[in-house]
Point group: C2
Amino acid sequence: MDAKTQAKMEARARILKALAHPTRLFIVEELSRGERPVAELTSLVGLDMSTVSKHLSLLKAVGLIRDERRGVQVFYSLATPCVLNFFGCLESVLEARLQTQIELVG
Amino acid sequence: MDAKTQAKMEARARILKALAHPTRLFIVEELSRGERPVAELTSLVGLDMSTVSKHLSLLKAVGLIRDERRGVQVFYSLATPCVLNFFGCLESVLEARLQTQIELVG
DNA sequence: TTCATATTTGGCAATATAGCCAAACAATAG
DNA sequence: CTATTGTTTGGCTATATTGCCAAATATGAA
């Protein structure tokens, strides 16, 4: 793999990696319904706010979400909604794998 | 996040995690052009064959690729080509982020 | 069987990640 | 100013991941 391709793959991987965590996927899906302040996301997620804040920073760093402070709160929202299209494909991967496993048993 | 949602997000994250590595992204893109034996992928990637083999195992474990032994070689191919649709979105995330950075400078 | 080739697996070292707690920081109210 | 609320950052530990090398396994040829 040449250096240029390597750089391109690393850039893509960075975004996918940001997405590749249960909590962050949940946050993205939640944000697909509209912007949310950190406190609300924290209560939905059910982890320490510092943990949620770090997940949000990571998603923001790669450009998947945006933040906007209004008064004392920081509202996060989806910056690139096209990632929502991933979910359908992920489900079909899961279904296909399930199907394969059924065939192995049957 | 309730247990069921957690499980769903974990399942999705497992697939995305498998994809979220420069080498594995490269492999997936290479396989989009057709099946390839491990040795060929290894020479394209430029890492130890054992390393490439482990990447392939991981991709296969989550159902993204398939393997088929023919004689002494094992050919890998894409099981769920819909993941190729991710790349366009990833590029747009990268472009949007670049645009934001330009705005911050200008 | 033995040999050669293709691939996978085991084991290890280096690095990265996720979570919590505590402390710092930001904005507004009083 | 201080106090309060909302959020982020620092630091730490536990766990996971990636890569290499060496060894094991699998298939086909002789």
